[in-house]
């Protein structure tokens, strides 16, 4: 024993310690390569349809002209089979129209009638204002539009209408006199204010979910966002026909023609000054006083979901309950392999135990209770520009959501020797930042959605 202890010369101890550290460092470099090579779980399958790219290129010349136009222009949102489940659909609010139901919100026919060809033509030519449905009149010819209407109609499980439905007769507008506005105001309070609120601002937060799809209530003071047009006759038509299958009911029978004109006049009178006109102010949902509602708007319009939601191999987001539940693997050489965090308020695996201020601090300053966020991965250096209120709004919305279990492993880092060597070799200028040359976003889930006591198939090292 004494001999062994005597053999521990200081030099040998130094050499042995350095060797051990070297082996460990090499191990880290190796493990960073194999540790998160494959996702721990496949993407949670949801019924979104993949498609070939560029859209329509794979079509045979024997396909009908309607199908060719549809698959080139429409399928990306409405899906190859018309079910409203195209690859871009999961992020859209509300979801794209499902053509198999055969119902269209913006139409001029009686509430229980199909939309007319002219209604569909109008929507295709001019689009739906302020929404993802674009105008096509400069790109598609009249013949192409006619063909695609036929093709869309054929998706309906209820069959195409036997004859083209007849539009409602738009009665003569009641003049917008003080008396008409007073009558309209009373009717609005009785029939409309429950969803649109008395001031017409509506509720930015989705009022109702249809098939779990959020359907926002329109802000009636901003006619530039009216999908179906902002003329008094357009408003009269929406009140008359309703907006099935959305939550807006029809008032065809409940109110007389004149009463509907009174309401249309009243809605017109609610209009605020547009922000681009003299004395106008920006008052959109990004300025909502309710921080949860403002946060919901900001999160959906920003890119949060892009990295914090799993994708499948066709780069379709998981639009189901795993929205914002993290799990995307992002290797950033020579720094490490990062996995996007679970942003749902799950206490154990998400941000449930973080305070709203801590979340806002992480978004703006890249500092979490555990670590610094790596800024090639989480672009907090750009999000630092967010106002304090907007960051708190995003945090408040995240905290208000339903918690989802998705255990996210900690980042894996390359060995110190390799990282420093790579930074010296590939960086120009001082200090060597080691800017990655590429960012890779991997499909599948690198987290673990199963409960904790289940067998852990992934890799959890910290």
């Amino acid at each position: 024993m004494g001999d062994i202890i005597r053999s521990f010369s200081r030099r040998r101890i130094v050499v042995a310690t350095l060797c051990l550290l070297g082996v460990l460092d090499l191990g880290r470099s190796m493990f960073a390569r194999i540790g998160y090579a494959e996702p721990a779980e496949p993407w949670q399958m949801a019924p979104y349809e993949a498609m070939s790219w560029p859209p329509g290129e794979a079509n045979a010349s024997t396909d009908s002209p309607g199908q060719q136009v549809y698959e080139k222009r429409c399928a990306i949102c409405h899906g190859v089979n018309g079910r409203g489940d195209g690859p871009a659909a999961p992020s859209l609010i509300p979801r794209p129209r499902d053509f198999t139901v055969g119902e269209y919100k913006y139409k001029s026919t009686a509430p229980d009638e199909d939309a007319s060809d002219d209604d569909l033509r109008h929507t295709i030519e001019y689009g739906l204002a302020a929404s993802a449905m674009p105008y096509w009149k400069d790109i598609l010819s009249q013949e192409e539009i006619d063909e695609v209407i036929k093709y869309i109609r054929a998706f309906s499980l209820f069959g195409a209408p036997e004859s083209d439905p007849v539009s409602l007769n738009v009665t003569t507008r009641v003049d917008a006199t003080a008396a008409s506005l007073a009558r309209g105001g009373l009717l609005f309070e009785k029939s409309c204010s429950e969803c649109h609120e008395s001031d017409g601002r509506g509720d930015v937060r989705p009022a109702e979910r249809i098939d779990d799809y959020p359907v926002p209530t329109r802000d009636l003071t901003a006619p530039w966002t009216f999908r179906g047009g902002s003329e008094a006759s357009d408003i009269w038509m929406r009140i008359s026909t309703g907006m099935r299958p959305g939550p807006m009911p029809d008032y065809m029978d409940a109110l007389s023609d004149a009463e509907r004109w009174d309401i249309a006049n009243y809605v017109k009178s609610l209009q605020r000054v547009a922000p681009w006109e003299a004395k106008g102010e920006l008052q959109g949902p990004g300025h909502h006083e309710d921080l949860v509602k403002r946060g919901e708007y900001l999160v959906h319009a920003e890119m949060c979901g892009l990295c914090h939601t799993q994708v499948n191999k066709d780069m379709i987001y998981s639009g189901d309950e795993y929205y914002l539940a993290g799990g995307m693997g992002v290797p950033v050489y020579p720094h490490g392999v990062y996995v996007s965090r679970n942003l749902t308020p799950d206490v154990e695996t998400g941000i449930g135990s973080w305070s709203i201020a801590e979340i806002a601090h992480a978004i703006r300053n890249g500092r979490t209770p555990e670590r610094l966020l790596f800024f090639f991965d989480m672009p907090w250096m750009l999000l630092h520009t967010l106002s304090e209120d907007d960051a708190l709004a995003i945090a408040s919305f995240l905290k208000s959501r339903k918690p989802v279990t998705n255990r996210i492993p900690m980042p894996l880092h390359y060995g110190v020797v390799e990282t420093i060597a790579a930074k010296v070799a590939y960086s120009s200028g001082l200090p060597p930042m080691g800017n990655p040359t590429r960012l890779t976003f991997k499909a599948g889930n690198y987290g673990q959605t199963a409960p904790h006591d289940c067998h852990w198939t992934g890799h959890r090292l910290s």
């Binding site: 005597r6 521990f8 010369s9 200081r10 130094v14 042995a16 310690t17 051990l20 550290l21 460990l24 460092d25 191990g27 493990f31 790219w53 560029p54 859209p55 290129e57 222009r73 990306i76 871009a88 992020s91 609010i93 204002a129 302020a130 993802a132 790109i139 966002t225 922000p275 681009w276 102010e281 920006l282 008052q283 959109g284 990004g286 959906h300 319009a301 920003e302 066709d314 780069m315 703006r364 500092r367 610094l372 966020l373 790596f374 800024f375 907090w380 250096m381 750009l382 520009t385 967010l386 110190v416 930074k423 200090p431 990655p436 040359t437 590429r438 890779t440 976003f441 499909a443 090292l461």
Partner: protein, 231 residues
């Protein structure tokens, strides 16, 4: 296990001072380390070791350095996002919209892909959509979007349809997310885009999917005009 370096280091240092002493009795040691020179050498080597360790630590952790205030890093990162030129805007309302547009340009991450000056360039490659290059969205009339109408820019932002009718891949230009932007915010972004200084930068046209493209979604941070996954 993977983070046990501190344990190993601690054991090493401990044994150096505790166990190492018993190995001291070697002839010549005491003579070699006599005199003031010994202390200078030892101090210098310790200072050198600490300096090298500190430099290594800084290099390893760059750019995630906790002692740099986040404001400094953020200012560095958003440096070059053009300020609003109010002299080009006719009304105070349009100026307010341009400021809102610049804010959204920064935080909805337009700048992240299109660059702080909006001139585009980076390549994105994946086998399911081919190679594409981030477009130049400055108001340059030939290489940017100077000739586009407002409704055409809005359509590209919200629906991924370009002026000529090309379909933009939702994973390249994230129009599916941006379609949730309110009309006021889309118009604000457009006011700001028109307010930016035009930059002449021709960006390659997208190429259709090919086996040479990356098997996984890859965003290139270095300039590369060749289609496919190679650098």
């Amino acid at each position: 296990m993977i983070n046990s370096q501190w344990g190993i280091l601690a054991i090493g240092i401990l044994s150096y001072f505790l166990l190492g002493r018993s190995g001291l009795a070697r002839p010549g040691d005491s003579q070699r380390r006599k005199g003031p020179k010994k202390w200078i050498l030892i101090s210098l080597s310790w200072i050198g070791l600490m300096l090298v360790s500190f430099l290594g630590w800084v290099m390893y952790h760059t750019p995630d350095l906790a002692f740099i205030p986040p404001e400094e890093i953020a200012n560095g990162a958003s440096f070059g996002i053009p300020p609003v030129d109010e002299s080009k805007l006719e009304t105070p309302e349009l100026a307010a919209m341009a400021h809102r547009g610049r804010y959204l340009f920064t935080v909805t991450s337009c700048a992240f892909c299109h660059g702080n000056d909006g001139s585009g360039g980076p390549k994105v490659s994946m086998q399911s959509f081919g190679s594409l290059w981030v477009r130049n969205i400055t108001p340059d009339s030939e290489t940017g979007i100077g000739e586009w109408q407002d409704v055409e820019i809005a359509r590209a932002i919200r629906s991924g349809v370009s002026k000529t009718g090309n379909v933009l891949h939702w994973q390249g230009m994230i129009w599916d997310h941006l379609s949730n932007l309110d009309e006021e915010d889309v118009r604000s972004i457009i006011v700001y885009l028109r307010n930016m200084p035009p930059i002449r930068n021709t960006v390659p046209d997208p190429t259709p999917p090919s086996p040479a493209d990356c098997p996984e979604y890859t965003f290139f941070l270095v300039e590369d005009d060749t289609p496919g996954c190679n650098l």
